[in-house]
């Protein structure tokens, strides 16, 4: 079970509240792992939130989930520091470097968020070329969702 809820112009907190209402969860009590990833207390439903500009997305699943959204961009210094050799080659050889960079970034982020460690995991330890994660793009907004065992 995976559902993605998208909202505009509301806070992440409000977005989570609205998404979880679909599961009859009205009183949200959160607990956090050592890296700060939030979980519902005493509930087997997993969620993850991502926001950029005025868009917030909430992924809800029955297994660990990570989601990331990002508008198309290119940050060469981030590429050089955080991406693997094969990811750098993929971007450097791409005709549209912004597209390639953003695809790698959202996959990387969705994966480490699924793991529950976020940036602490070490972004260079993730080679997105070996991960089976789809990236959706609409109006220059890229989105990747990663479920456990992706």
């Amino acid at each position: 079970m995976l559902k993605i809820y998208e909202y505009k112009d509301i806070s992440s907190k409000e977005a989570l509240k609205r998404a979880l209402k679909n599961y009859n969860i009205n009183n949200i009590e959160l607990v956090y792992n050592e890296y700060g990833k939030p979980y519902l207390k005493d509930n087997a439903i997993y969620f993850n939130i991502s926001h950029t500009k005025n868009i917030v997305v909430v992924a809800v699943s029955d297994t660990e989930v990570g989601i990331d959204i990002q508008y198309k961009c290119y940050k060469p210094r981030v590429k050089d520091k955080y991406f693997t050799k094969s990811e750098i080659e993929y971007i450097d050889n791409a005709l549209d470097k912004e597209d390639a960079f953003t695809r790698v970034w959202v996959k990387k982020e969705a994966y480490v968020k699924m793991l529950g460690q976020g940036l602490s995991y070490g972004l260079r330890n993730v080679d997105t070329n070996s991960l089976n994660i789809d990236v959706q793009m609409k109006d220059n907004l890229y989105m990747a969702v990663c479920l456990k065992n992706s």
Binding site: Y35, G36, D68, R77, V78, L119, S120, L123
Partner: protein, 74 residues
């Protein structure tokens, strides 16, 4: 160090320096996203000439946390 950190945050995010306080929380006050934070870290490394390990990034909750970290480690 404070001026340097505030300048780099302003340059990286496009925010006005006056809006960046030592007490500002990176996520809730400055509304930085993960990509903003790693971009900021990469720029800070360039400015201070020292690598900031990924595992240390979670210590950066506020602007003051960054200043303290760099004063201790740079």
């Amino acid at each position: 160090m404070k001026d340097k950190v505030v300048s780099i945050i302003a340059e990286t995010t496009g925010m006005a320096k006056e809006d960046i306080k030592e007490s500002s929380n990176l996520l809730t006050d400055l509304e930085l996203e993960s990509l903003d934070i790693v971009t900021l870290v990469a720029e800070l490394e360039k400015a201070v000439g020292k690598e900031i390990p990924d595992k240390d990034i979670k210590e950066f909750q506020t602007v003051q946390d960054i200043i303290d970290y760099l004063e201790k480690n740079a």
